[in-house]
């Protein structure tokens, strides 16, 4: 079957090509219905990745956050019409120790191969997770980024000591919002403090116990553990500020992506005996756990509705470009493409 694929061929330029999907008994065909734009997509779209990376990866369909409906499943595992979230991580092997999203052999949609900007997507059944039918579709569209926070928190619970009285989250963007929201649900007894640079953004963190501007953190403020959700050029500034305010033997979860190296205060990391760990992406277990959390805590989905930004109907390349340009100029929130292809 010929399915249309919208590929980025060079920064800010998309091309429509057709891919032949084979209908077989080991794949499920999904029709994407809502797509969500991530910063990683923007780095390709705006040409912010290194020249050699762009040359190697493009042309490629962007978008790794999406939901769709099952249209065809000869294996019979899914009913036609089932709303599913599509898992972008695509492992080719299993490992007893290493999680699927860290296996070097795994491929990732819109990074190693075509993302979800397609008319139909052919997926292995284990890359699909059914969603509650009544979920807000735009919130569902960015389940993947929420699963990344969920994944980092699960790892944090494994790696950190159990004194979790105060946990700080650096970053007042989407990732900071999502991570602090999940932390408050998963660790309700902990005091969740958010640190950012925009007072008006911090007002949205109504579930947090405290919010601070990074320029106004009291010198005597200390926390047990922290999450860095800043990324970019400000990564090292954020991590070093965390190192200043964290108690000994605290754990720092690094989640922000930076294209540049980040100099760190290693002396204090050593002196305080800190643990720093990184997380990236997520796997099937994280999606399953998160969707259970959604079912048990409907407030989470409601709080996530606050970061739904522009919702743009997309039928063609002009609409796609419009969505990406609107996303560049947003102040906060996730830009959603209502996919009508």
């Amino acid at each position: 079957m010929l399915t249309s694929v919208y590929r980025l061929v060079r920064p800010r330029q998309f091309e429509l090509v057709f891919k032949d999907i084979t209908l077989d008994t080991s794949h499920v065909i999904v029709h994407p219905v809502r797509l969500s734009i991530c910063n990683a997509d923007q780095r390709y779209y705006q040409g912010l990745r290194a020249e050699n990376i762009l040359r190697k990866k493009l042309p490629m369909a962007l978008i790794h956050e999406a939901v769709g409906r099952v249209v065809y499943d000869p294996s019979g595992q899914f009913q036609e019409g089932t709303l599913v979230v599509m898992i972008p991580n695509t492992p080719s092997e299993t490992d007893e120790v290493i999680a699927e999203n860290y296996l070097r052999s795994s491929q990732f949609r819109a990074s190693g191969f075509d993302g979800f900007m397609q008319e139909y997507v052919s997926m292995k059944p284990d890359r699909l997770v059914p969603l509650p039918e009544d979920i807000n579709l735009s919130v569902a569209a960015f389940t993947e980024i929420v699963s990344v926070s969920y994944h980092a928190i699960r790892r944090f619970l494994r790696f950190s000591h159990t004194r979790r009285n105060v946990i700080g989250v650096w970053g007042d963007g989407n990732l900071g919002y999502i991570t602090s929201l999940l932390l408050k649900i998963i660790l309700p007894e902990s005091r969740i403090c958010v640190f950012g640079v925009n007072e008006y953004k911090l007002h949205d963190f109504s579930f947090a116990d405290d919010v601070f501007l990074i320029s106004e953190i009291p010198d005597d403020f200390y926390l047990d553990h922290a999450f860095e959700c800043v990324g970019g050029a400000a990564s090292s500034k954020a991590i070093n500020q965390i190192i200043d305010h964290i108690n000994p033997e605290g754990t720092i979860s690094i989640m922000g992506v930076s294209e540049d190296l980040a100099p760190l205060n290693t002396r204090m990391i050593l002196e305080k005996g800190l643990r720093l760990f990184g997380s990236s992406r997520s796997g099937r277990e994280d999606f399953l756990g998160l969707i259970n959390l959604y079912k048990e805590n409907p407030d989470v989905v409601n709080q996530l509705e606050k970061i739904v930004g522009a919702e743009i109907h997309v039928k063609n390349i002009q609409d796609i470009i419009r969505a990406f340009e609107i996303d560049i100029h947003k102040i906060m929130g996730k830009t959603i493409m209502i996919w009508e292809n």
């Binding site: 079957m1 010929l2 249309s4 694929v5 429509l16 090509v17 057709f18 891919k19 032949d20 209908l23 077989d24 008994t25 065909i29 029709h31 249209v71 065809y72 000869p74 036609e80 019409g81 008319e119 139909y120 039928k315 009508e340 292809n341």
Partner: protein
Amino acid sequence: MANNIFGIILAGGQGTRMGNAERPKQFMEIGKKPIIIHTIEKFAIHSAFDKVIVLSPRAWISHTRDLIRKYIPRSSNVVVVQGGSTRNETIMNGIRYIEENFGLDDNTIIVTHDSVRPFVSHRMIEENIRAAQECGACDTVIPATDTIVESAGHQFISSIPDRSTMYQGQTPQSFRAKKLRDIYESLTAAEKQILTDACKILVLKGEKVQLVEGDVTNIKITYPSDIRLAEALMEGK
């Protein structure tokens, strides 16, 4: 649950007899599959259709069935039926099949489509169904890019219509099946003779036919050069 919506794939009226050098064009391959299979797949996986009826020339019915069995793992919703002597007679055969097997009422919708337009999209099919339900009939079109020139005597220009109101017709074309059939049957033989297009049946009788946005990629594969064009639209070609 039945939706009362049917896909009708028009796979040629006359066809070509076995023994001739050329197979009908819908059986030529693009990529690694016959064109007709690419087209049927688009309809077969669309959950709106109660049945997808492929109208084939008599000599090619078994061949078409074999191809469907070979390429589409779950194809119980696809049936191959003999086409008619003309495009509109072929559509009528499809409607007759629906009436005999599912019953026909005022709300029965048919989405008719050329078997040689494999680039039809999910959106076009969706919008066809919606427009046919709302308006009773629709035609998939794209704005004309070339100037249209009319010449009644085939020698001199008789008129040049305003291009901004001109469109090129594609398919799908979708209808309330019963109404289409009733109007068609009310036409005289002479009227039927001049009909090259199903939408014209309704236009002749003053019925409204809504426009649905097509796409330049929704090409009809007619000539050998179209095969090359189709392969150029596909990745890695």
